[in-house]
């Protein structure tokens, strides 16, 4: 499969603290890549390099490259707002905006100056259907999103992300705060979505990583330990540490 992104010798620093050490891995197009590893190993840090969330805070520094279509998205000349438009992100806890369901999904579209109401309606419905939440919200589009359940909110957030048609969606433990049924729905949704987008997902749930992802990367203390097809990582990994980690003997 084709590589959509190529992380090359990426290091990252929170001020003086190095959180990523020379990470190199490919992100294949229309696949799900899981990032696993013990707490504090740098999964979130790596994920937030892809949409340059770290730029929001002073003193953060990247070294190395993340190539997308041959271009380093970490370089100074990149339009970060555009980049973030292409790299959707779903957080651990649902983050509905304090507005109606409709306006939530339309938020990113309006940022892109989609003003035409019928176009907005169409795109909002499409995104909500894609996120498998349309049936549950279609009668309450104009009520505040805070009234939805946690699982519905999380799918709403996914719809909001999908509405702007990103190339990549970054999930940071996005099912861990949800009940098992909602988590399952989102898992199934991710499997469905990879037809259209590329997914990078941080998870602490080994079964989940094994079930949904095509590729898995194990990280430890800011370094990449092993990256391979998920089947390989879970059945015949090259490194002893990987085997220990995925079998739960470690971490």
């Amino acid at each position: 499969m084709e590589d959509l992104l190529e992380v090359k010798n990426l290091s990252f620093f929170y001020g003086a603290d190095q959180a990523l050490k020379d990470v190199t891995l490919p992100i294949r197009k229309n696949s799900i890549t899981s990032l696993i590893g013990p707490s504090g190993c740098g999964k979130t840090t790596l994920l937030r390099c892809f949409n340059r969330m770290h730029d929001l805070y002073p003193k953060n520094r990247y070294a190395g490259e993340i190539l997308m279509a041959g271009r380093n998205i970490l370089s100074d000349g990149v339009d970060v707002l555009k980049l973030r438009n292409a790299m959707g992100m779903v957080f651990q806890k649902p983050t509905p905006f304090p507005m109606s369901v409709f306006d939530n999904v339309a938020y990113g579209l309006r940022l892109k100056s989609v003003r035409n109401m019928s176009a907005l309606r169409e795109k909002v419905e499409k995104a909500l259907r894609q996120a498998a939440v349309w049936d549950e919200v279609k009668d309450r589009l104009h009520r505040n999103a805070a009234g939805l359940s946690g699982g519905q909110q999380q799918r709403l957030v996914i719809a909001r992300t999908l509405a702007v048609e990103p190339k990549v969606i970054l999930f940071d433990e996005s099912t861990s705060a949800l009940d098992p049924i909602s988590a399952k729905k989102i898992e199934e949704l991710m499997a469905e979505l990879k037809k259209e987008v590329t997914i990078v997902a941080v998870t602490h749930n080994m079964q989940q990583a094994a079930r949904i992802s095509d590729y898995t990367a194990l990280m430890y203390l800011g370094s990449l330990v092993e990256f391979d097809e998920t089947g390989v990582i879970f059945t015949k990994p090259k490194h002893k540490m990987t085997e220990d980690y995925v079998t739960g003997r470690f971490g």
């Binding site: 929001l56 707002l81 806890k93 983050t95 905006f97 304090p98 938020y107 940022l111 957030v157 992300t161």
Partner: protein, 281 residues
């Protein structure tokens, strides 16, 4: 067991003291409210709102309509300047100035400014806006009130915005929103009932002020709302009428005090209700 007993005893003593203090405070508040209610309600007449001041020897004549309007105008002008400036400043501190030393200093200074006695602010306005202009004027009064409002709004805004979860901002940034849109569309919107409450409470705080007006816009017996002259003020009128030897004037002071008190209490109640309302809606 001894240890437990002594703890229980200490607890009892502390609780009793705290309760007594609270009761004393509340009792005083109620005495004041009761006085204002009884005396004020008894003296309340429609002409208070419809007539201009009359000499004290005229029975059944005279009101303070200009003073109510004048006070309202000063408060409005002060709010029109102080609220937006405070919201902007507080937003800057919360959104752009996190972790910056100068911003922490501004926060701390505003906290101090909140507790500056309002008469000091009146004296300041007198020095810079009354003396150089050659006399009492409404601008100086409004400015003094605005200076009182500003740090209150600044700090409440900062606090209200700090409550908004950081993740919500990140979620908007993650969609490619520029910072000013995140602030206006997400942060202010999340905090809007808190900001509204803050503004109302700050306005309530200055609506009943006398001291900062004494040296600035002072008072006027004429029904004239010109900010470049002395402006009729209800609180300054209360002050003057209450201290006068005429019974008809002291009665009018009570009635006016009653109106001002009710107004300020209402503003407070509405402000607090707005915060509660948010949690339901």
């Amino acid at each position: 067991m001894d240890h437990l007993k002594s703890r229980k005893l200490k607890n009892l003593v502390a609780m009793t003291l705290a309760t007594l203090c609270a009761a004393a405070g509340l009792a005083l508040l109620f005495v004041i409210l009761y006085d204002v209610l009884v005396e004020g309600l008894g003296a309340l007449k429609l002409r208070l709102f419809t007539q201009d001041p009359a000499p004290p020897n005229l029975a059944d004549a005279g009101g303070l309509r200009g003073a109510f309007l004048g006070q309202g105008l000063l408060t409005l002008v002060a709010a029109a300047v102080g609220v937006p400036a405070g919201v902007m400043g507080g937003t800057f501190l919360a959104e752009y100035g996190r972790n910056s030393r100068i911003c922490r200093l501004i926060s701390a200074l505003s906290d101090m400014a909140v507790s500056i006695p309002s008469i000091v602010i009146g004296a300041f306005a007198y020095a810079v806006l009354v003396k150089p202009m050659g006399g009492f004027n409404g601008w100086a009064g409004a400015a003094a009130l605005a200076i009182i409002i500003l740090p209150i709004i600044l700090r409440t805004t900062e606090e209200m915005l700090n409550i908004v979860p950081w993740e919500l901002r990140e979620a908007a940034f993650a969609l490619g929103a520029p910072q000013h849109k995140v602030i206006i569309g997400i942060v202010w919107r999340s905090a809007k009932s808190g900001l509204f409450t803050g503004a109302l409470l700050a306005i309530a705080r200055v609506a009943g002020e006398t001291a900062p007006l004494l040296f600035t816009s002072f008072n006027s017996n004429f029904f004239k709302l010109n900010l470049s002259e002395a402006v009729p003020s209800i609180t300054v009128s209360i002050y003057q009428y209450a201290a006068s030897p005429y019974e008809s004037w002291t009665e009018m002071a009570w009635a006016a005090a009653f109106v001002v008190t009710v107004f300020v209490l209402l503003l407070n109640l509405v402000g607090r209700a707005a915060l509660k309302f948010k949690k339901v809606g």
